[in-house]
Amino acid sequence: MADGKAVAAGPPAAVVAKGDAAAGADPALFTFAEFDRDAGERIGWSNYSYWRSTLHMFLRNRVALFLLVLLGTILAFTFLQPLLPNQRSPTLINIDPATGRQFRNLVPSAEYWFGTNSIGQDLWSRIWSGTRTSLLIGIIVGVVEMVLGIAFGAIWGYVRKADRVFTEVYNVLNNIPTTIVLMLLAYIMRPSFQTMVIAMCAAGWHGVARFVRNQIVIIRDREYNLASRCLGTPTHRIIMKNLLPYLVSVIMLQTALSIPGTIGWEVFLTYIGIGLPVSIPSLGNLVNEGRLIMMAPELRYQLIFPTIVVSIITISFYVLGNAFSDASDPRNHV
């Protein structure tokens, strides 16, 4: 360059800060270094991984971790218990061979760990059997609600033309208190396992659909979805690949939360008298039986044992669900 005046040839530069740290530096250092273009590409990477951070956050929550283990143990035991030796059938009415009368209301003992109920059935095996039933209802309802909710919610949220219709239908359904829907349906159908499942699914699916819809509306118009549309990606694949993966965490949370909710409703419906038939032990039935004889303080164990189990299960699911939701929210990954 004609005007080529080198920087260093300007007025002698003076160090104004930091002292002359390099005073004794090797003069060889003042030569040009080799330049590696790819090195520049590699710096600045974040090592952030969504699922790793989620796991990390979750593991930091000690309470949740404890409940996870507890819940896992209970769940496993519920299904293992019938396979163990010396277990009685939950519906067997135990009769004293000496007198020929039922072992009514026996308090907990080495023989009957949780005692017996008012007609001599073994409370220990009834509780595990009941837990099995209630959990099964909870899980089936949770899964069905999710499947229905996601299917309808995804269409509702993503297909603009469907929005109006779905919204109006939802407004009608949502206007009726859940309690009333449940009671009405359970009342109309005969008391049975299926009735419980159908009634609870009917009462809950639209809430899930609404939730999924809102989530999808939030992410539907983000640019990456527009990009997929420009590339001609069919709607079903956009929903499967672009939308649902973002919802995995919230969907898991909703399922986890619907299980304790379902158990709660089951107990409630049983109390009203339209729950499961007495012949099927369930946590609702057990609590209800216990309630009927709670006036006698010495028999309250019949209420307290099932209550403890219900509480542990529901609290665990609830806390775990929330802990997972917190952990899976990228905003909390600080």
Binding site: D3, A8, A13, A21, G44
Partner: protein
């Protein structure tokens, strides 16, 4: 420094953030003098720390951030040592005000514009009721909002982006601050509105006589507003000087790169000067000059030792080993030489 006194002096400021169990050093020993009455522009890319740097002046770092060391001297006190809210309330919003980037979200949507200005007036000027209301209306008028009496009762959603930014500026003016920090005040606005807002801030500055700090990544805006410029990279100030110094005679390779990669200085049809790679990850320890890995003409020493601030001329400093007498001579890129030629003062 042309005889003016510094109103705010920052020395060797280090700011750290705790994130995901790791520590990020956002400001890595930055020093700066702000001179009474001037407009200083701090230029830097996102993540360079320019925003964090100024947030420390009013104690508004995020919860997980802290000033690790260094000092911020203002009116005889060291702001870096402030810990309690009570201490900060003596400064924040009274002596030093701030205007934020996005006027669409900076106002409470549920309270009228007037009430939001009035509450600052009441708080800082000891006025109340009708008197404060009148003062608020006067402020609205001063920032160029037509029909201020009617506008006073309206809500933020009834204002356009530019008008909302004027309201935010009115709020910042309410206490007649000594320093106004404008954090990218026009980035979210259209260019035509941007020009008007920049003009407004200049007019207010001459009316009220405060000192302004601009944070921006837009060198065009810098050229428009700044008396002095500080260039930030990876949490450090790498060059400071008057606007003329920095635009027509920059010395740091990063400043060169920044300027010459601007399309305005490019020649159509030819590739622009471009900087490869991306800024460094501030979670990592940085050895030597943070810009070295992206600098094709880096010296060996740039990878070994952090360069000190070299004085180029009075008021112009740059932190690069190129200014060391032992360094080899290096031509700035063509675009910079062209800029230098455009300076009417000619050869500097």
């Amino acid at each position: 420094m042309d005889g003016r006194k510094p109103i705010l002096s920052v020395r060797d400021l280090v700011v750290k953030f705790d994130l995901r169990g790791r520590t990020l050093t956002a400001i890595r020993g930055a020093s700066l003098d702000l001179l009474e009455g001037e407009t200083l522009a701090i230029v830097g890319e996102s993540g360079s720390g320019k925003s964090v740097f100024t947030k420390t002046f009013i104690g508004m770092l995020d919860q997980n951030g802290r000033v690790d060391s260094g000092s911020i001297e203002f009116e005889g006190a060291d702001l870096a040592g402030y810990a309690t809210e009570a201490e900060w309330l003596r400064v924040r919003g009274r002596k030093i005000s701030m205007v934020f980037q996005d006027p669409m979200t900076a106002l409470n949507p549920l309270r009228s514009i007037g009430r939001q200005i009035q509450e600052v007036v009441e708080m800082h000027r000891g006025m109340s009721g009708r008197q404060a209301e009148l003062a608020a209306i006067e402020l609205l008028d001063h920032v160029g909002i037509p029909d201020p009496v009617r506008r006073f009762r309206q809500f933020p959603h009834e204002f356009s982006g530019g008008m909302r930014q004027r309201v935010v500026i009115a709020i910042a003016m309410a206490c007649k601050p000594r320093i106004l920090i404008c954090d990218e005040p026009t980035t979210a606005l259209d260019v035509t509105i941007q020009a008007q807002i920049l003009r407004l801030i200049k007019a207010l500055q001459s009316d009220f006589g405060f000192t302004t700090i601009y944070i921006t990544h837009d060198l065009g805006v810098v050229a428009n507003v700044a008396d002095r410029v500080a260039v930030m990279y990876a949490g450090q100030i790498v060059e400071t000087g008057s606007a003329e110094d920095v635009f027509y005679d920059p010395r740091h390779p990063y400043t060169w790169a920044l300027l010459s990669s601007l399309p305005q200085l490019g020649v159509k049809g030819k590739p622009l000067f471009s900087i490869s790679g991306t800024p460094p990850n501030l979670f990592n320890e940085i050895k030597g000059d943070a810009f070295a890995p992206r600098n094709p003409r880096a010296l060996r020493i740039d990878f070994e030792l952090q360069p000190p601030m070299f004085q180029v001329s009075p008021g112009h400093q740059a932190a690069t080993w190129l200014l060391d007498p032992r360094a080899p001579a290096l031509e700035p890129p063509a675009a910079i030489q062209a800029m230098r030629a455009r300076y009417p003062g000619g050869e500097r």
